[in-house]
């Protein structure tokens, strides 16, 4: 087992897939000659090793980057493109929502759009609301897309490899803070199927469903609650679409209590979808009302003290758990 940070694990997945399949190429803003020299960033060193033909720095043009992926995919390539920050998804969204996601359907299944759009998400850098704005629920709302948000280096690697080989367009959202968090990653090739949640920590008293950076927050809270003999089960959804309902429902049926935790704002957030599924299919098992712990419905503040209190914390999560125990 090697220890890698998530940025390195993503880099390894990209590298392995590019070596395996000559049709895989990367395009995006500053992915080759980056402004940062950190070897921990996902595309570090790839330009040098694969050349400008396969690692393309593009003009600042999100719609064209996503459109390049749509066109190249229908012509048989396997594009992996990067939209620098999640809020810039809006600039690329017509290409993703109206084209990547719908053209297979409109072609009666004749044309295929195997592409990956990687995006950085997550607050915590004082970068402000136009850099930090988690929009996974928008993508999840669009039929034809798959939406993946890994929480660990091993998951990121295994899921990205699956995403690149998937015949559908996949939105792959990477939390920037997680790039620098280390974790064990198997040396051998590991593919993690899209659409499988994972119980990151078993527990008997309450289920916390979460994904991406918030998995760490949940595990921190679980550690603290364990000292009070409260067993928190942490379900890492990993993939929002298609969602692994079975794992989620099995956990809720076991614990009878649910908190959904995400960084994104609350109204219309994906917690609502998780909650609805549980209400529809496991209502009889609930022993208490469910709770959501999320960012408030405001643009992410840039000022550090405000931003700190914007982000859901272990304390907030523990308070929500105590409310329903």
């Amino acid at each position: 087992m090697q220890t890698l940070r998530m940025g390195q694990a993503i880099n390894q997945a990209l590298r392995e897939e590019m070596l395996r399949d000559p049709d895989v190429f990367l395009a995006g803003e500053g992915i080759g000659v980056g402004i940062h020299h950190s070897p921990l960033l996902p595309t570090a060193g790839l330009l040098k090793d694969f050349g400008a033909g396969r690692v393309k720095d593009t003009p600042v043009s999100e719609a064209a980057i996503a459109g390049l992926a749509v066109g190249a995919a229908v012509a048989g390539l396997r594009p992996v493109v990067e939209i620098m920050f999640n809020p810039f998804f809006t600039l690329a969204s017509d290409m993703i929502v109206n084209h990547a996601a719908k053209l297979r359907y409109l072609s009666g299944g004749k044309s295929s759009f195997p592409l990956v759009v990687r995006m950085k998400s997550g607050a915590g850098f004082g970068a402000g609301c136009q850099h930090s704005h988690n929009l996974e629920a928008w993508a999840a709302h669009c039929p034809g897309l798959k939406v993946v948000m890994p929480s660990t280096p091993a998951d990121a690697k295994g899921l990205l490899k699956s995403a690149i080989r998937d015949p559908n367009p996949v939105i792959f959202i990477e939390d920037l803070a997680l790039y620098f968090v280390p974790g064990p990653v198997p040396e051998e090739e590991v593919m993690i199927p899209i659409g499988q949640a994972e119980v990151k920590r078993p527990g008997k008293d309450v289920t916390v469903v979460t994904w991406s950076k918030m998995v760490g927050v949940a595990l921190e809270a679980a550690d603290q609650l364990a000292r009070e003999n409260i067993g928190m089960e942490v379900v890492d959804l990993r993939t929002l679409v298609p969602m692994d309902k079975e794992t989620l429902l099995a956990s809720v049926r076991k614990t009878g209590r649910l908190v959904v935790l995400h960084e994104a704002t609350r109204t219309g957030g994906f917690a609502g979808e998780v909650a609805a599924v549980v209400m529809e299919e496991a209502f009889a098992h609930l022993q208490a009302p469910l709770r959501r712990v999320t960012g408030p419905d405001i643009p992410v503040p840039a000022s550090p003290p405000l931003e700190r209190f914007y982000l859901p914390s272990a304390e907030k999560l523990m308070a929500a758990v105590r409310e329903i125990l």
């Binding site: 459109g67 066109g71 012509a75 072609s107 044309s111």
Partner: protein
């Protein structure tokens, strides 16, 4: 620091070869083979007559909304006639005649305007590669650049021809696509069918620029304006652009000045926004009329010959309508809506499909409550 003028080449050619009466400028004659001239003529007439029939079908409620091409036969067919079979065509939504040239069946067009996605699967796998129509205006130009990227990635000498209208030049996608193609020197021909109207917005209110072709200059590519109702001029200009792209010398913007003789789509009434005089003025410049006059003068066609072509085309259309309506009657299983959202059926769609299947079973058992 002085203030000085940066010298730039600013040149936009305008090309016309056949005038409105079908008189040829012999110096500019692209000297196309007789077979190609006759094939173009037949395709233009087919495009027009098919439009007329589709309009009847739409008015009778037998198909849904469609976008007519009448008046634009020369600009789209002249352009597409320059492509090789392995080149790509990326249409907007007003290139039915060009799609048919590329091997799309009339039946498939009728089926698509009837709302059936199966339309795309009717045509043979080895038909020249063509994307489905794109509704968000200008969006297809970005796909064209992506396809061109793939062609170059594989070191193939195939080119991509993409169509759009005058309205699309106001979209961000136009500018992003032109810029990418310029930077990457993509093998793309950007074919603007300037038909003077973006639904109800006239060309004069679309941009302050004198020509649309000149927008090419800002992206470092050549631009040319063509009489889009003159099929010979369109062939000549686009052939030059295709050759440039194939040789690796990058993209070109071709502006075909033409006119949409009918409505934007069957959902609007052009009488509300433009005058009959304007339409009649353009009718005098009709692309088919002038091309026929030329072909008759060259003795490649005769009046009875034209009548025979018209008759054959009506037969071809009739057969397609019958075939398509027969096929439509056999399609329409509601469960089909789940078939192609993803390559496979994910669990949540399987469940939703089952919900619908149960609903259908109930309604059948309930005797159509």
């Amino acid at each position: 620091m002085p203030r000085k003028t940066i010298q730039m080449e600013k040149r936009i050619d305008y090309l016309g070869i056949l005038d409105a009466d079908g008189k040829l400028d012999a110096k500019l004659d692209p000297d196309l083979p007789k077979e190609l001239l006759l094939k173009l003529h037949r395709a233009m007439v087919l495009g027009r007559r098919f439009d007329e029939r589709l309009l009847n079908l739409q008015r009778q409620g037998r198909i849904g909304t469609f976008a007519p091409i009448s008046g634009q036969e020369a600009s789209q067919l002249g352009a597409v006639a320059t492509l090789r079979d392995d080149d790509w065509m990326v249409p907007s939504f007003r290139e039915t005649a060009a799609e048919i040239w590329r091997g799309r069946s009339l039946e498939s067009v009728i089926l698509a305007y009837g709302g059936f996605n199966e339309a795309a699967t009717l045509d043979p796998e080895d038909a020249p590669p063509t994307l489905p129509v794109a509704v968000p205006v200008g969006s297809q130009m970005l796909h064209a650049v992506g396809i061109a990227w793939a062609m170059r990635y594989r070191r193939e000498d195939r080119v991509v021809l993409t169509f759009f209208g005058d309205g699309a030049t106001s979209e961000g996608d136009f500018h992003e696509a032109m810029n990418f193609a310029g930077v990457f020197q993509s093998p793309v021909v950007f074919l603007c069918q300037n038909n003077q109207w973006a639904i109800s917005v006239p060309r004069s209110k679309q941009t302050r620029a004198r020509t649309l072709a000149q927008k090419a200059l800002a992206y470092g590519m050549p631009g040319i304006q063509v009489d889009g109702n003159d099929v010979l001029a369109v062939v000549a200009a686009v052939a030059e652009a295709v050759e440039r792209a194939r040789a690796g010398d990058g993209p070109t913007l071709v502006e075909c000045v033409t006119y949409r003789m009918m409505m934007h789509t069957t959902a609007d009434d052009p009488k509300r926004y433009r005058s009959d005089e304007e339409v009649e003025g353009w009718r005098a410049k009709d692309p088919i009329k002038r091309f026929e006059a030329y072909l008759v003068k060259r003795k490649l066609l005769t009046k009875p010959g034209i009548a025979k072509i018209e008759e054959e085309i009506q037969g071809q259309i009739q057969q397609a309508v019958e075939g398509a309506e027969k096929r439509m009657a056999s399609l329409g299983d509601p469960l089909e809506m789940f078939a192609h959202a993803y390559a496979e059926l994910p669990p949540h769609l399987e469940a939703q499909r089952e919900e619908l299947a149960a609903e259908l079973r109930d309604s059948r058992e309930g005797g159509g409550r």
